[in-house]
């Protein structure tokens, strides 16, 4: 996230001063104000919304479907739908909830389609191949190889544990644990009531704990 922010800051330095000031002004606005600016015909306003949400949505969609490349396509599709239907957005609601709902629905459709047409994803194979054939990198000299290996192993197990969760549990779990959404927001995004959200989250956490417990001292 920090690297993405730094890149955006660097990009901002390249644009002419007037455009830069405009972007900075947009950057200080709330989501609703930026949405209104976009509806009023400000061509840069939608770009501001994209900058705010592209990385977050990609992270959410990727964790939900487990495919990086397809995740990018779905995030693009999310923005296209938002652009197309922005005039229909109820501005009394939170924009972030709306955009996450669209992304969540697209991710659910993707998982549903995949379950109908199961195939082995090349990326999954490639990722495992990379992990198996990558030379050992000494990321930090302060850590011992055992620690490094354990840390990397734990991360991959945690990622695997998320993937192993049932679809409807996984979406709730990712929204809560990784995106930090409140129960109410999750209920709005997933279209479930608050009790269902709590129950799914509790079950997801239980499953998650059981999967990773052997790796944690």
């Amino acid at each position: 996230m920090a690297r993405a922010k730094a890149k955006k800051q660097a990009d901002l330095q390249l644009v002419p001063s007037e455009a830069r000031e405009h972007r900075l002004r947009l950057g200080e606005m709330t989501d609703s104000e930026v949405v209104q600016a976009s509806l009023d015909g400000d061509p840069r306003a939608f770009g501001e919304l994209v900058q705010r949400y592209d990385q977050r949505l990609l992270n959410f969609v990727y964790r939900t479907i487990g495919d990086r490349e397809r995740g990018q396509d779905l995030v693009q599709e999310t923005f296209v739908r938002v652009y197309r239907h922005l005039h229909r957005f109820d501005q009394t609601k939170k924009f972030s909830t709306w955009i996450y709902t669209i992304a969540s629905n697209l991710a659910k459709n993707e998982l549903r389609n995949r379950s109908r047409n199961p195939l082995v994803l090349f990326q999954t194979l490639k990722k495992n191949w990379d992990a198996d054939h990558r030379p050992l990198e000494w990321e930090d000299t302060q850590y011992k190889p055992d620690d490094l290996f354990r840390k990397r192993h734990l991360r991959s197990k945690v990622e695997e544990a998320v993937k192993q969760l049932p679809e409807h549990h996984r979406i709730v779990f990712v929204l809560r644990e990784m995106e930090g959404k409140t129960y109410e927001e999750i209920a709005d995004i997933t279209g479930c009531n608050l009790g269902t959200v709590k129950s799914r989250l509790n079950r997801a956490r239980n499953n998650f704990a059981h999967i990773i417990a052997p790796m944690i001292d």
């Binding site: 990385q55 734990l154 544990a161 990784m178 509790n202 956490r205 704990a209």
Partner: protein, 181 residues
């Protein structure tokens, strides 16, 4: 509160949404149950690891591709707005009306030419002279030239022979007959 109760209500407790009494009961249970303490540690630590997972990076062409798609949406909207405005239909209708008006204008504006048009006077036809037909080979008085008619009246211009006779004569000169076959 037993272990099952703790696990069932742990989500609310972990997120700080549990009522004060419930939170106290869970904490009291945690002081005396090592397996529930481990459950808590695993969840807390696991969530921490989850948040430190590297984020996937956007492709370099992500924004360019998105801009391209949004451009096409704008394009579609413009086309749709243009089509919905009814301007093309009105243009076609206008052209059709114009062509119809031009085509029907002679009948529509007959009164306009009534005063200016010259009346055409048609002379009476000359009476057809009915004279007895002259025999072939004599001058016909039906000629337009009246002087010549008077001069050549009833004079033989050339000796008349039937065409078959002329062929016979010609054949005899050449040594055969055209009619005797």
């Amino acid at each position: 509160m037993n272990c099952t109760d703790v696990v069932t209500r742990f989500t609310d407790y972990l997120d700080g949404n549990a009522p004060a009494e419930e939170a106290e009961a869970i904490e009291a249970h945690l002081t005396e149950c090592p397996s529930c303490v481990r459950y808590k540690n695993v969840l807390v630590h696991g969530s921490k690891v989850l948040r430190t997972l590297p984020e996937p990076e956007l492709r370099d062409d992500f924004n360019r591709r998105l801009r391209h798609r949004l451009y096409h949406i704008d394009d579609e909207r413009l086309l749709h707005a243009h089509a919905a405005s009814g301007a093309p239909a009105m243009t076609v209708l206008g052209i059709a009306l114009l062509l119809t008006t031009i085509a029907w204008s002679p009948t529509l504006f007959t009164g306009m030419y009534a005063d200016t048009a010259q009346s055409t006077v048609v002379p009476e036809p000359r009476p057809v002279r009915t004279q007895p037909s002259t025999p072939p080979g004599t001058f016909s008085s039906k000629s337009d030239n009246e002087d010549l008619a008077e001069f050549f009246q009833d004079t033989e211009l050339w000796p008349y022979t039937k065409l078959s006779q002329r062929y016979d004569q010609r054949g005899r000169q050449l040594g055969f007959s055209l009619t005797d076959r």
